[in-house]
């Protein structure tokens, strides 16, 4: 099993450009998440999904959009990139099992906006 796969691993964008971070999981998990990690700030939730066709905002959704058309894929779209979106982005997936909801994370995507 590949687990959670994110692409690209690194990307440099110019201000105002748009791009999509791809995330796919092969574990048949119903929950999927996008977090961003800024130095010294832990992880902040951008968007999450509890199943195909259902998405919801997290703590820091502004400037981002998501879709969940299949169980496997949960792409994150950045519209009109800004320097404040320079960060490391982690996609994760999970399934609730015996009350525990343990996240499996992707390797991360490092985005720089100049």
């Amino acid at each position: 099993n590949a687990g959670v796969t994110q692409t690209p691993k690194f990307r440099i964008l110019k201000i105002g450009q748009s791009m999509t971070l791809q995330c796919t999981q092969d574990m048949n998990h119903n929950y999927m998440y996008w977090y961003r990690q800024d130095p010294g700030m832990g992880l902040k939730l951008i968007y999450y999904s509890v199943g195909a066709g259902i998405t919801d905002k997290g703590e820091v959704p502004n400037g981002y959009n998501v879709s969940r058309s299949t169980t496997e894929d949960f792409p994150l779209r950045l519209e009109l990139a800004a320097p404040s979106q320079t960060s490391v982005y982690f996609c994760a997936s999970s399934i609730v099992n015996s009350g525990a909801n343990v996240l499996t994370f992707g390797a991360g995507s490092r985005l720089t906006v100049l």
């Binding site: 998440y33 832990g42 992880l43 015996s98 343990v102």
Partner: protein, 113 residues
């Protein structure tokens, strides 16, 4: 709004020493998670604590949960260099496994000879 506070945020400790990392949270919850992140890498699950008084141990790490105090501890025994990493605790905003986790800022541990 749920707050998850870890301390210390930075910890430099000598090999062979013991130390404890603390995780306080502001909501009623009986489940708490610890993750480890190596530099430049992703996060990996360390421990899942699902009830008051829960204790889990793996190697030199032991985690415990006191839901009444809203406190979890991660105790390091006889630290070795391989334990150098950032450790995060995480809690669900409501006492439900269906709500997304809120993470603390992390404790960056550096074990030196």
């Amino acid at each position: 709004e749920l707050k998850v506070e870890q301390n210390p945020l930075f910890l430099s400790m000598q090999e062979g020493k013991n130390y404890t990392i603390y995780c306080n949270y502001s909501t009623t919850s009986d489940r708490l998670y610890w993750y480890r992140q190596d530099p430049g890498k992703s996060l990996e699950s360390l421990f899942v604590l699902l009830s008051n008084g829960a204790v889990k141990q793996e190697g030199r790490l032991m985690a415990s949960l006191d839901t009444k105090a809203r406190l979890s501890t991660l105790h390091i025994t006889a630290a070795v260099h391989d334990l150098s990493a950032t450790y995060f605790c995480a809690v669900h905003p409501r006492n439900s496994g269906n709500t997304p986790l809120v993470f603390g800022k992390g404790t960056r541990l550096s074990v030196i000879a």
